[in-house]
Symmetry: C2
Subunit: 341 residues, 2 copies
Amino acid sequence: MKETTIYDVAKEAGVSIASVSNVINGKGKVSAKKREEIREVMERLNYRPSVIASALMGKRTYTLGLLVPDVANPFFAEIARTVEDRAHQEGYSVIACSTDNKEERIERYIRLLKRKRVDGLIIGTGLGEAGSQALQAEKAVPVVLIARGSDELSAHSVLTDDRAGGAAAARHLLGLGHRRLAVLAEGAQVTSSADRVRGFRAALSEAGVTLAEDDVLICETSVAAGERAAGELLRRAERPTALFCCNDMLAAGALRAAKRSGIRVPGELSVVGFDNTVLAEVTDPALTTIAQPLDGIVDQALELLLAEPEAGAAELRRVVMAPELIVRESTAPPPAAKSQP
Amino acid sequence: MKETTIYDVAKEAGVSIASVSNVINGKGKVSAKKREEIREVMERLNYRPSVIASALMGKRTYTLGLLVPDVANPFFAEIARTVEDRAHQEGYSVIACSTDNKEERIERYIRLLKRKRVDGLIIGTGLGEAGSQALQAEKAVPVVLIARGSDELSAHSVLTDDRAGGAAAARHLLGLGHRRLAVLAEGAQVTSSADRVRGFRAALSEAGVTLAEDDVLICETSVAAGERAAGELLRRAERPTALFCCNDMLAAGALRAAKRSGIRVPGELSVVGFDNTVLAEVTDPALTTIAQPLDGIVDQALELLLAEPEAGAAELRRVVMAPELIVRESTAPPPAAKSQP
DNA sequence: TTGAAAGCGATACCAA
DNA sequence: TTGGTATCGCTTTCAA
């Protein structure tokens, strides 16, 4: 059975396709009577306009692309869900793409999405040289960066204030009495991680506490990597009493490492995560972590992305949203502080 | 700047668009010389054929739809990632849709995906009346069901042997010496959950152990729901020594409930999950759980979905794959059994 | 082998 | 108000 087309409707209703098109789009002039008739026929034939055909005429495809490092990672999974919901409300569907932070994948995806003429790209991953090029090449797609600084690319961006997040973690720990801290970070290409560390460090030094170079360990993004790095840290002679992890997976890993080393959390070691994913409620102890305002971020991002590119408004926006410290069970005063009233 | 079209290429190369089309698709006859020339021009102009236009001519859109209850749920997030990877290998991209198991959302999504002329649908969620109807209506899309029994719908399906999974959990617990068991299940509309319970119960009764009606609690799919239900169970006079949970989120909730009640796991209570998601490695104790062979499932599913619908091969396939018990730290012999050698 | 021309299913302009 | 028709970019006959 073939799809019903606009021609079928027109013929059945005894009008021209132009009129049908007009009632579909609510444009042009159609007499109320004809309009009703056409409506009725569309209904009866169960007619659904082809997105493909109208896209070919230069209209929107109502499809958005979402680039993240890995949709299986709980944080990005939540982003994907949030984006999907908001986009769906506006009539869009979204193609999620996991880049693994690999230039080759990034480039391939961007090309593919362009060929499919997506109406916009929401980018939550680093791009690298190749990615930026692919974006600019040929006809540029509207782009908005989320949860990521605006690399070398000129595009709107909306992101969490990562420095503030790092600082909040630091102040929380400092307030608890910690003075020997360390951090588990992600690689340099993850700019948000770098900013979190910067903020963390800045807040520490404000309090006169310094963080040595080798007190921040770079990890891949996985529980196992966090466990490994934390294990190393905990084996040091002067081990830290508190650990700031740039995401919840690393923090979960740290918790495991502590357990394996027989170090109690939060009694002997405090751990702070970032992102406030499901993981944070599921670990034992539950993670104190920094929450990103995902709904707000996605709202803003879609608004920027879908706004008709008005003639004048060519200025680049950079929206920064405040993170929030969520205190759970993984942080407490350091052991030493306990005995000194 | 406008996209380069097939006309631009043809003009630049001094040939007809038909020839260009032929070299793109490797069809028809084109002299080696012309072919090279055209290739060179395409390269130079950075030409990318429009998926839209070719889709309009009845070719594939190279887009697949994926329906799951919630991509933010770690299990479905992993499915989404697996599907994305395999699909991408074949040149497809995928639109992920979270249905929340709501008929209204399901229907809307199916309609939308059809209007976008996706080449196939991978369905990992119950459909309900509305969904099934929407699928059949008008031109039917190729469909494959994953991780879900084939409802009322006639479509290929590839799924885990849920009964076997439930049975494996039961035998593991039985083998450890447990005799007072209970289960946390999902609602009736989640057929996989029902099958897991069936398998679990069957294996139990084979061993002469019975599971009363009120020993299986129905929960929503969330950590909190699991915690609540498990809490109730643990407050009973004759509390169970082992809990089988139909997914890892519920199991994680059970762990929390146990902790709140001061019940040690696995010392006083064993817990088994299902799905082997990240959650299972992150809880403390780490979850013993049943792993689904995701890669295998997705491989098979895509194969069935993308196979050219050959003339003869109209038979419906139902592929069942074996789950695997992953023993971690959340299971041990029951307290009583310890004292009886 | 090559190319002219007829669609595919919509939109949009312009006459009537 | 209506409807005829060109157009979007590509695939696919079918003649030449």
